[in-house]
Symmetry: C2
Subunit: 267 residues, 2 copies
């Protein structure tokens, strides 16, 4: 009975690469149950490593309970497409659907400071080059497992309206609107990146893991930037879900988000 929750990574650097790649395919759904995995020899060839190295990666996967190895037969996937409890982000609120799913959420404030806005933030928010912003980094956990690493930049004059404690307990949206900010527009950009040493430790994952990266710029009615968010999310814990419906006729036919029906819908 191992309760290691996917943290039994092998020692070698190449072995870790193989381990992470295979683990991503399993938890990501590309590999389901059954007789799936190729033989150790073939894996060694496709990854360009020796069989010993593949072996170390498979040992770690077996420790995690993700695969099952039987001599003579082969290696099979076990936990196929049954991720623990993937938190999804709701489209219409821009907030993770946590409360609705009975998750207990906690936020931990990692750093908190005021200072000049970094270049890319000032550019994205149309700030003066020397304008001070509040920079806060916090990690959110669901049921004790961290799933997001968020860094927010808020112009100092706005940020003075709430306290450091507020940040650790409440979502930034609520604090901004409470401060009298009239939110009007937001622009999100979703991408992927690798986990650096600091965020890897904060999220309890291995350096070099894949992360979902989200950049968000929020503006008020005057077009002034009021929030810049740089969020990193664990793909095994978090997904961006968007249900869409096809509307319109002829050339104007296009997609629109299906609001109010997420995921389980029976219909």
């Amino acid at each position: 009975m191992h309760m290691n929750r996917g943290e039994m990574l092998p020692e070698g650097a190449k072995a870790q690469r193989v381990y992470l790649s295979l683990r991503d395919q399993i938890t990501g759904g590309s590999l389901s149950d059954g007789d799936s995995l190729p033989g150790e020899q073939r894996l060694a060839e496709t990854f360009g490593v020796s069989r010993v190295t593949v072996r170390r990666a498979l040992d770690a996967l077996a420790d995690d309970g993700l695969i099952e190895r039987r001599a003579g037969s082969g290696t099979r996937v076990r936990g196929g497409s049954a991720p623990d409890k993937p938190v999804a982000m709701n489209f219409t609120t821009l907030m993770p659907q946590l409360v609705e799913m009975g998750h207990s959420t906690t936020a931990r404030l990692l750093s908190f400071s005021y200072g000049p806005a970094p270049d890319f933030v000032a550019r994205a928010m149309d700030l003066a080059a020397d304008e001070d912003v509040q920079i806060a980094t916090r990690v959110r956990s669901a049921d004790g497992t961290p799933f997001s690493h968020l860094t927010t930049y808020v112009p100092a004059d706005i940020a003075r309206n709430y306290s450091e404690d507020d940040l650790a307990s409440q979502p930034l949206f609520a604090l901004l609107e409470r401060s009298g900010v009239k939110i009007e527009e937001a622009h999100q950009s979703v991408s992927a990146t690798l986990a650096g040493p600091e965020v890897a430790e904060a999220l309890g994952i291995a350096t070099g893991s894949a992360l979902l990266s989200l950049r968000r710029v929020v503006r008020d009615v005057n077009g002034k930037g009021v929030e810049y968010l740089a969020g990193l999310y664990r793909p095994d814990m978090f997904r961006l879900e968007m249900p869409l419906t096809r509307v319109g006729q002829g050339a104007a036919r296009h997609w629109e988000p299906a609001i109010g029906q997420d995921g389980e819908s029976a219909a």
Copy 2:
């Protein structure tokens, strides 16, 4: 003048990890121009490797032209937040905005076959366990650089309506609607994953790079699944952009996609 386009990766496995992590931060916008990078000694400590290894990673970054090193002063970022030509995906068409931006797009068919649907596909599309599907994998390139690796699963009876050549030249949407399929609903799930050896080669990137992962299930008016798409996108070439506006009043206030106004558009 190096035209290596980010393919000068160092030899050691640990050095590659440092290289990829730093490169992601630079092309991802977390590190802009200026005096940014910490000293080699500090980098070695935070990454948990020796200074020699950090050095190898920095050598490769310098070869790529991403950083500039000056003895005594430090290491600075050069290509900060000016990615080549990031292709964005349009929200309302579910298609990359390529034609509008003057890109020359090519698609290459990597594999093409008919066979029983994999478990996760059959589950997602509500197919019979033994139903045959067409499985096609193709790589799309913009201006000669590959940016997406797409695998589609289409029920065999539908797929017979178009040819193999059609797939290499036209988007699947057009082919489906031409085949008389009434598209009604789609569900997208966005996540991140690591590049395995095969996709890494197909996309011209290093194994272990971060990729944006998109899963899409398209259903017709009867609720039957007509397409399952598993797409992997290079984060340095592709982003999922979504402009949003705040609408509604009071408790019903929520976000909606700002249709028709994307980035550059003039409508």
